[in-house]
Amino acid sequence: MRIKKHSTLLMLAVLLVATLATARCGAPATQAPEPTKTVVEPTKAPEPTKVAEPTKEMVEEPTDELAKLLEEATAYAAGAEGDVTVTYMSSGTYDKAAEDLAAEVMPKGLNVTVDALPWAVLAQTHTSDLISGAGQYDVTSIAGYDNAEVFEFFEPLDAYIQRDNWGQGMLEGLMYEPTGRTPFFHGKQIGIPYAFDAYGVLYRTDLLEQAGVEPEFETWVDLVEACEKLQESLDGTGIYPWVFSYGSVEQITNIFFGEYQGTYISKEGKYVLETDEAVRTFKVLKDMLPYGPPDQMALNIDEMVSIFLDGRAAMMACWPSFARAAADDPTKSEIAGKWAQMPFPGKGFVNLAQWNLSIPKTTQDKELAWSWIKAYTSEANSRYMLDKYGIGSVYESVYSDPDVIESHGHDLPVAAENLKRGHVFPLSMEALDFLARTLIEYLTGTTDAEAAVAKVNQQWATFPVVDARLELAEDAGLVEK
């Protein structure tokens, strides 16, 4: 019966965490020497070019090209022999790319076990593993500051980075400085970026052109006005001006982050929203509701993307990597060649899904782990992941490659620009969930904007802000002055 399945299991799970935590072996690894900081000369991102009509060849590189890239990436793990267990989000992209590379390095002596976990349990799995000292994973994939509570359990990577001069050529602001993109703890870099996704708005080029709408909005208020124009233009077509996955609870905060121009943490170090600005933002978000499908409040990400790919919506806000590869594939999409990404609207910040590889302090052979990190985060593998899985590359050179500009010019250069305006959010999962759910309550008419913001602030005052997130918020100017 479920009584056994849930009640007992839940309590036992909680207990297990605590038991392991009390018994954790906390022998910290030797601190790496303080490295000198290296600054990458910023290069200008290429201007977006005209949308190219996709062909089969653009979508899939010839196999020998991909094999060559994998071979090049494998060279970074040369001489590394032993077993490494790594985690990735189970997405059919990052994890599959890791499996491809793992198959390539295995004959050379590096046995990599790829443990792909759903996003919903990835962070909690890491947390349990780290605080218990179980040491199940040698390399972990961490998304932004999702694991900020346990950043102290990760090995500082500055010495490795300096020794191997790693990260040269990556996008401006990704490495070396705590800019809210790559994870830092007390000034030390603890992750190497391998992929990023800047939250974006994808649109139908033909429909916006037909409606006379310029795909560049300073704020979300402007986007709402464009929806009105699109509504008139699309009348009777069955196409919605806008689609969004309100049913995937935390997604709505990505739009909030873009429009809201206030701070998130008070001088006293407590989470708090600036009331007037937050109320204004809540109301703007509600103004968008009339332009989406009637069941939008229940839509999850997959359902939303499906509506956009079927050609039933003119604009969609999403993580572009969830739609990019399919949207360009004529066999999976009705809109291939008819879509593009616009600069993310709003004067707030663009939220980043910034994926990094880190080494827990419990890892026995850190050099072996570092070998895998180098192979996976190398420029060659980054290009492989883009070409095969549509994963946004972290290397600047990719965006000036004529082939990429031709095949992804409608999308990736804008994504790279959005990245420069973005960083990860400074909220704990608890604070994020509470904001998202209260916002949804307001959008579904359960409460009014003023009461909703007051409710958020009241609850937020009880949530602790950990050091790593406070440092992030200070660097990003999100702390009350």
Binding site: M1, R2, I3, K5, H6, S7, L10, M11, L12, A13, V14, L15, L16, V17, A18, T19, A21, T22, R24, Q124, T127, L130, I131, E149, V150, F153, Y246, G247, V249, P293, P294, D295, Q296, M297, A298, L299, E303, S428, M429, E430, D433, R437, T438, I440, E441, T444, T446, K455, Q459, F463, P464, V466
Partner: protein, 318 residues
């Protein structure tokens, strides 16, 4: 003959051993002997259940949240329990949980009894129907939730398409607070009714035939027989079913997680979901432990009340 000396040598040994055995049994006594036999099981139970449960009580009385530190903090008494009572989401989750438990239990009882009564019999189609209707209980609850989420999709779900074919506008199932609650309860009822039907089917098949035949001879209608004979005779089974379904509904998590994840907003945030989020998503371990005990207390009190009602009924009627 060859073995005789040996056999002769063993006999006194056996007798001595038997004597020592008898003396030992006598010394320990029957009660002590029973305890000795039960000891291995008791030790396993103690280690497997009592220790974690006691540890969770301890955790609920200290301050342990990963955001504050990776090890348990100091003793805070009942602060975590008091915090739960001050937590608007928790209070709301109690109401939501009780609503789900009440509505789902009543629906499951009525539907299960009705189906079991209608399908009572041993003809092949009775057995086949019962087997088919048992299938929802054999599907993993997570799969049930996912399946129903797809079927209730307002645009393309088979239920919505069917309703549109009948010129009925389908509700926005999981997009509005009330319909989301209805959806969650509906899915839970669909999943749990076969279990209720199974218990009732077994109870109905074992009912004494004499009172029913006597009522038929006296000219009682089918409804009168059901109302005045079958239902009272099924009361003990009803109490057992009630205990299982109430507790099961109080613990509902998988269906909620796979259909609404507690949304929209906090509209379907049950106690179990809030405990799950607090314990395994936010790592507020002590707070989650305290709320788990409050949920366990709620389930325990409900079960005790039902047992009391059942024993009162049995003593009054037997």
């Amino acid at each position: 003959m060859i073995n005789a000396p040996h056999s002769g040598g063993r006999a006194p040994l056996r007798a001595a051993a038997a004597s020592r055995w008898t003396n030992l049994k006598h010394a320990i006594g029957e009660k002590g002997w029973l305890i000795a036999l039960l000891m291995p099981s008791l030790v396993i139970l103690l280690l497997g259940q009592a220790y974690p449960l006691l540890l969770s009580i301890y955790l609920s009385l200290v301050d342990f949240s990963v955001a504050k530190g990776p090890t348990p903090g100091g003793f805070v008494g009942a602060a975590n329990y008091a915090a739960a009572l001050d937590d608007a989401v928790f209070v709301s989750s109690v109401k939501i949980t009780l609503t789900i438990a009440l509505v789902a239990t009543i629906s499951e009882l009525m539907a299960g009894l009705l189906v079991a009564y209608l399908l009572a019999g041993e003809r092949w189609w009775h057995r086949l129907s019962r087997t088919i209707l048992l299938m929802p209980a054999m599907i993993a609850p997570v799969a049930v939730g996912t399946m129903w989420r797809m079927m209730l999709n307002s645009e393309a779900g088979i239920v919505s398409v069917g309703l549109r074919a009948l010129s009925v506008t389908p509700p926005n199932w999981f997009g509005e607070a009330n319909s989301a609650m209805a959806g969650v309860i509906g899915v839970a009822v669909w999943e749990q009714t076969p279990f209720v039907m199974l218990i009732y089917a077994a109870a109905i098949s074992s009912l004494p035939t004499a009172p029913i035949l006597a009522a038929q001879v006296d000219g009682a209608s089918r409804w009168q027989i059901a109302r005045y004979i079958v239902l009272p005779l099924l009361f003990p089974a009803t109490m057992i079913v009630l205990m299982f379904t109430v507790v099961d509904s109080l613990m509902l998590l998988d269906v909620i997680y796979t259909t609404t994840i507690g949304g929209p907003g906090f509209a379907t945030h049950s106690m179990t979901l809030w405990i799950y989020f607090q314990g395994l998503r936010y790592f507020n371990v002590s707070y989650a432990a305290a709320m788990s005990w409050m949920l366990t207390a709620l389930a325990g009190i409900t079960a005790v009340c039902l047992i009391w009602v059942r024993s009162r009924w049995l003593s009054a009627n037997l």
